[in-house]
């Protein structure tokens, strides 16, 4: 499956050329919020007025792709929580007005499939349409769904594939209560090295056009694998299997993109995986750019695509070791040791 086009609205200036050109935004609070473009030109105000942030930035990231890539055969989205702000706004109305007369917009906008539905509506796309909400594997499941969709269709078939997650006070509160965020403030350029409990809260919308057609493609997604509740001792076997299924050795991976997020309780998983590879293997991080959120691996795919294109060499925001333009990239991400994923990408041979 080939990535033909992509866009990202993120806590970096990825929606314009600035990020690729070397800009690195520093976030000093533990919520890394996105830089949103103005939507006035692209989203009709009659629609925009109802959209919560997740839907708005999802549409914002998707629209340029829809414009540049006609006749998409469907829309597949991954989001753990969708429009949570709308969701809790509605919930608060329920309690505050004691289940009296309530406004329905928050309810309609809060369903995680509202984004895929809205994109379909705005682009009159009556094709395949699914939303995956499987926590920290929601994007990976959307990716798998897209792969299965395309592999039984002709070469010209293509899909919009993406992921979105928004920061709201509420999800921050809930995850804070669950002990998922750091107590002390950490600026993002120090995040990876912070060895303390919890991480920081990020958000973003990342969109791709994927197709069977390699012409003018930016990258190829070769394979992916998910692991649920693995024992630490299982990981090596699973990784061995994954690489050999794809005819690769550890040394054949040029670059590891790791989801390390500064949480001392779980970063050991990344160190373990990294230790299986030769010392000379390049490895970089991505959560210093965007923070932690359930579908952050979509941004890792965005980053990998840029790297395969030859971009981001010597970028100030790229932490870790990057000595060359990679041809084969393995992304490894996990959430609290429960949900793990591997995504394998390659450059496109001309």
């Amino acid at each position: 499956m080939f990535i033909k086009d992509f866009s990202a609205i993120s806590p970096q200036l990825t929606f314009s050329e600035e990020f690729v050109n070397g800009d690195y935004k520093i976030h000093v609070n533990n919520t890394y919020t996105v830089f949103e473009p103005s939507y006035a030109e692209t989203i009709p105000s009659a629609l925009l007025r109802r959209m919560g942030k997740a839907v708005r930035m999802g549409i914002g990231a998707a629209l340029p792709l829809i414009k540049r890539n006609e006749k998409l055969d469907g829309i597949v989205i991954g989001t753990a929580n969708g429009g949570l702000e709308n969701c809790i706004n509605f919930l608060n109305q329920i309690i505050d007005y004691e289940e009296g007369t309530l406004t329905p917009t928050h309810f309609v906008q809060s369903t995680p499939n509202a984004l895929a539905g809205q994109i379909a509506l705005m682009s009159s796309n009556t094709g395949y349409n699914v939303t995956h909400v499987n926590g920290a594997l929601a994007f990976e499941n959307a990716l798998l769904d897209a792969m299965m969709f395309l592999e039984v269709r002709d070469k010209k078939s293509s899909l919009l594939l993406g992921a979105v997650e928004e920061i709201s006070n509420y999800n921050y509160n809930i995850d804070q209560l669950a002990g998922r965020y750091k107590v002390a403030k950490v600026s993002n350029d120090k995040l990876i090295q912070t060895k303390s409990n919890g991480s920081v809260c990020g958000e973003g919308a990342t969109m791709f056009v994927v197709s069977n057609d390699s012409a003018n493609a930016l990258a190829e997604i070769i394979d992916l694998k998910q692991l649920n509740f693995p024992k630490e001792s299982d990981v090596k076997n699973k990784l061995d299997q994954f690489l050999s299924d794809n005819g690769l050795t550890y040394a054949a991976i040029d670059l590891l993109v790791l989801g390390t997020n500064g949480d001392i309780q779980f970063d050991c998983w990344y160190d373990t995986v990294k230790s299986f590879f030769p010392l000379s293997t390049d490895a970089i991080y991505y959560k210093n750019l965007i923070g932690e959120y359930r579908t952050s691996s979509a941004f890792a795919v965005y980053l990998a695509t840029q790297l395969l294109k030859g971009e981001l060499q010597n970028h100030p925001g790229i932490e870790g070791q990057l000595t060359k333009i990679p041809k084969t990239i393995l992304i490894y991400n996990q959430f609290e040791g429960v949900q793990h994923s591997l995504i394998l990408l390659k450059d496109v041979e001309l």
Partner: protein, 87 residues
């Protein structure tokens, strides 16, 4: 409160409840149909308007069908508010 004041207050509520970005009180015409005019309102908005009338004026409208006979344009709604408000 005279009719003009009720009208402007209602228009302000309309903007807030429907989150009508970039629209001012002056831009909402008194006799333009709300649902086929420039505002681009639809069926969900009609339910939002029913909530508005309940919360701000204590007017209970049971369902969208009943609502459609009242929610025609600003003039009609303001007349209805003046006659039926309970707060």
């Amino acid at each position: 409160m005279n009719r003009e004041e009720v009208k402007n207050e209602f228009k302000a509520h309309l903007i807030t409840y429907l989150n009508l970005l970039d629209i001012t009180i002056e831009q909402i015409k008194d006799n333009e149909p709300l649902f086929e005019g420039d505002l681009g309102l639809d069926s969900i908005d009609s339910v939002e308007l029913i909530v508005l009338l309940d919360r701000e004026y204590g007017i209970k409208i049971k369902n969208p069908t009943e609502g459609r006979q009242i929610l025609i344009d600003v003039d009609t709604i303001v007349d209805y508010i003046i006659l039926n408000r309970t707060k």
